[in-house]
């Protein structure tokens, strides 16, 4: 299904943060144990998080992972 297609990992992290009492990047970073810059680069689509980090973020927002992270055609 995905063969031959250029795909990239996209996310709704920014939207989730605003829905979650408008928490800051720093607060989310503190909650999942990374630096603010890592959260910032995930939001900008310049860094793909590990499965572990994606799961930690999903648990923090109490949402399934695929509601936050999804594959998109480039």
């Amino acid at each position: 299904m995905l063969k031959g297609k250029k795909i990239r990992l996209n996310n709704n992290l920014r939207k989730c943060r605003f829905e979650h009492n408008e928490i800051t990047q720093q607060e989310l970073a503190n909650a999942v144990g990374v630096t603010r810059l890592t959260i910032h680069s995930i939001e900008k689509g310049k860094f793909n998080p590990s499965v572990m980090l994606a799961l930690k973020i999903a648990i923090f927002f109490k949402k399934p992972v695929d509601e936050i992270f999804y594959l998109d055609e480039d």
């Binding site: 800051t24 970073a29 503190n30 630096t35 603010r36 810059l37 910032h40 310049k46 860094f47």
Partner: protein, 304 residues
Amino acid sequence: MKRILRISNITTLVLCFISIAGLIFVNIFFVMLRAAIIDIKDVEGLMNSYSIPVAVTYMVFAFSHLLAMFTLILQLNFFKRDNFLRSFLFFTGIISFLMLFGDWALTSDISKEYVFGLPDEFIILFLSQALHFIFFIFMFTLLISSRRSAYGEGGEEVLKDDSIFINAQYIGILSGVSGLVLIIIFSLLYSNVYPIPSWAVDAGVIAISLISVVPYVMIVLYWLIVKIRERTGEWYDEKQYQDISRASLITLVTSVIITAGIFITRLFIDVFDFLNEIWFPFYAFLVLMLFSSCILCFNKRVQD
């Protein structure tokens, strides 16, 4: 923490101001001494009358440097954001502190050699004075500019910060570039302009390399002290791991290409002969500069 930072900021600010005045006094003395040597006046009398005030001023300089380093470390911990000026001051502060001992050795040489004419040590002495001036003036500027922030910032809790990580890269670049520039200039000078015995070449290369690398070693040691309480797996976060991996690969490839280029060029023309004695520090500083620049580049690319 905030209170200690405020006290340390104010004390360093006052000491910086006193040190700048002290530097002006010491430099007036050095200029008078130089003029007395050129005009063959009573050099010994001049040295005797000023030796104690100059020694006391140098003690104030040493104390100012140590306190400034302490304040810079406190600021690194407090502000949690990288700042090039802070890294630059950490770098110049350590070198300037080491050069205080260099000044002492140089003036001691001058006091013995002036009978044979104007000693060359004056050139290095005035360069060292310029470094002290740069350090104190920029430190003064940083303290004035961060005075208001020290009262306001620090509200948001930061559990994992990358300020020391990024500042270490700034210092790595400064150490790498200054090490490369200084050993190349030194090597070109002794091989083309001012021949010196081989033991002096080795001593010069070792001294320059150590002076350039000490600030980087200090920031890495400080980073290790901060991180030693954490599990090794948590020393970096995953974005930092990725940046380090990419930077390592690029450093490996680039350093091999550069050294291979030099090696091949040397087979045909003798343009790189000055590298004979300094090949190891040259390679070490090149790698340090490339590695730190690459990490910083990957880090800043995301921030823009």
